[in-house]
Amino acid sequence: MNTLTQPIAPIPGVRIHGEPLLEMPQDLYIPPDALEVVLETFQGPLDLLLYLIRKHNLDVLDIPMAQLTRQYMAYIEMMQRNRLELAAEYLLMAAVLIEIKSRMLLPRPPKASEEESTEDPRAELMRRLLEYEQMKLAAQKLNALPQVGRDFELVQVLIERTVGQRLPDVAVEDLRQAWLALLARAKQNAHHKVRREELSVREQMTRVLRQLRHGEFEAFENLFDAGDGIAQLVVTFIAILELSKETLVEITQTETLGNIYVRASRRLTAE
């Protein structure tokens, strides 16, 4: 029975101001199983130290190191006792506190080495505590400022954009990039041959096919524009041959040296 009431009994060996641990600051005493929550409420060792200092109305500028260190150690011990995973920063801070305390026990060296050793060993800790506290307070004030969405809403009246939504703009550069991407991929796949090709032939193939769209025979010469230069006429001729090769057009000649007719491949146009 007695052993089961452990939470109520003082934790042996842990005393603060000579009082058992249970007498720790009232609002700080938490059942061990809730310790984790408390640990989370502190943002780290500086926060915990500040709490202990403020709780006991200690002057940060003149911290009684012995007292503070004792309290802090008690706290750490309590955390460890409950096998809470203690962030390394807490242990590091314990080391720092002990170091400061021990340095304060040493007799002050004479003014030989001016700056450094005459400095109060607590100075650095004080500086950090105050700086942290300043930011902690700033954070609270910042958090108290009205925040959009949380404390006030923005006005937004509907505007109907009935007129056709904007269409993407495309530039030649985009096409080029797209093709480069294809090339890069084709290269990886290795089985695609990207042949060098005369775009002009492709262009003429399209033009001729368009012209033959009606499905009827068209006189061969009608597919050429006399106004075009010779180079263009050759390209058109190659285009027609290419179309024929791809069986996209039929070329017929009813009699030798007679008129040549071209039409889109028959089955092609018959729907």
């Binding site: 009246v157 096409l175 991407a181 146009t269």
Partner: protein
């Protein structure tokens, strides 16, 4: 939070209204104030607010009639302004008058939408390889090409079907249109970047510049 809201309220010259405060019984409804709240709610919400929702904004129970009257008043106060309060199927909402759109469009340097990579690659293939079937495009891209992509480009007037190939299934042959050239500010397809040049770009660096 609530403490903060209170502070703010206390410093206002206006009478204090506390969220969720119990209103003394038989307190007359402050119509002007309710109108204010209704307006604020409607101005901060793009979706229409139903009468039921709007009634929730009153601290004391309120008649439909009163709320509707206030809404009518608000609507009338919009006369001559750039926004109007409309009653729509789902309730009430403010909207900008259509004639304001031309002005508001000036503010919207919305980044123009971009076509997906799939669309751009399909367009590039059609441009450089026309006439091509969907199958051809898929072979080059190495992945399926959705009908949606081709439809997008057709709707834009940039490609069209100029025939079908005489193979099983009679696939449509796609080619680019003059419209595309116009939109790209080109006189002919030959003004497209030459492929060989691009080839060298790829060969030089292993890392292809991806779009």
């Amino acid at each position: 939070m609530s403490g903060q809201a209170e502070d703010l309220l206390q410093s206002e010259a206006e009478p204090v209204i506390e969220a969720g405060a119990v209103i003394e019984m038989a307190q007359p409804i402050d119509a002007a104030r309710l109108k204010n709240i209704l307006e604020t709610a409607l101005l901060t919400t793009q979706e229409p607010l139903s009468l039921a929702e709007l009634k929730k904004l009153s601290d004391a129970p309120v008649e439909n009639n009163l709320v509707e009257n206030l809404l009518e008043q608000l609507a009338q106060e919009c006369a001559g302004r750039g926004v109007e309060l409309n009653r729509v199927a789902n309730g009430w909402r403010f909207r900008a008058r259509p004639e304001m759109q031309a002005y508001l469009d000036r503010l919207n340097p919305q980044k123009p939408p971009r076509y997906s990579r799939a669309v751009m690659e399909t367009l590039a293939i059609i441009a450089y390889r026309q006439p091509v079937t969907r199958g051809d495009i898929e072979e080059i891209r190495g992945v399926a090409v959705s009908a949606q992509i081709l439809k997008t480009l057709e709707a834009r007037g940039w490609i069209d079907v100029i025939g079908t190939r005489d193979t099983p299934g009679k696939p449509s042959l796609y080619a680019t249109t003059k419209q595309l050239l116009d939109d790209l500010n080109l006189r002919s397809l030959q003004e497209l970047p030459p492929l060989e040049e691009m080839n060298s770009l790829i060969e030089q660096g292993e890392q292809a510049p991806m779009p």
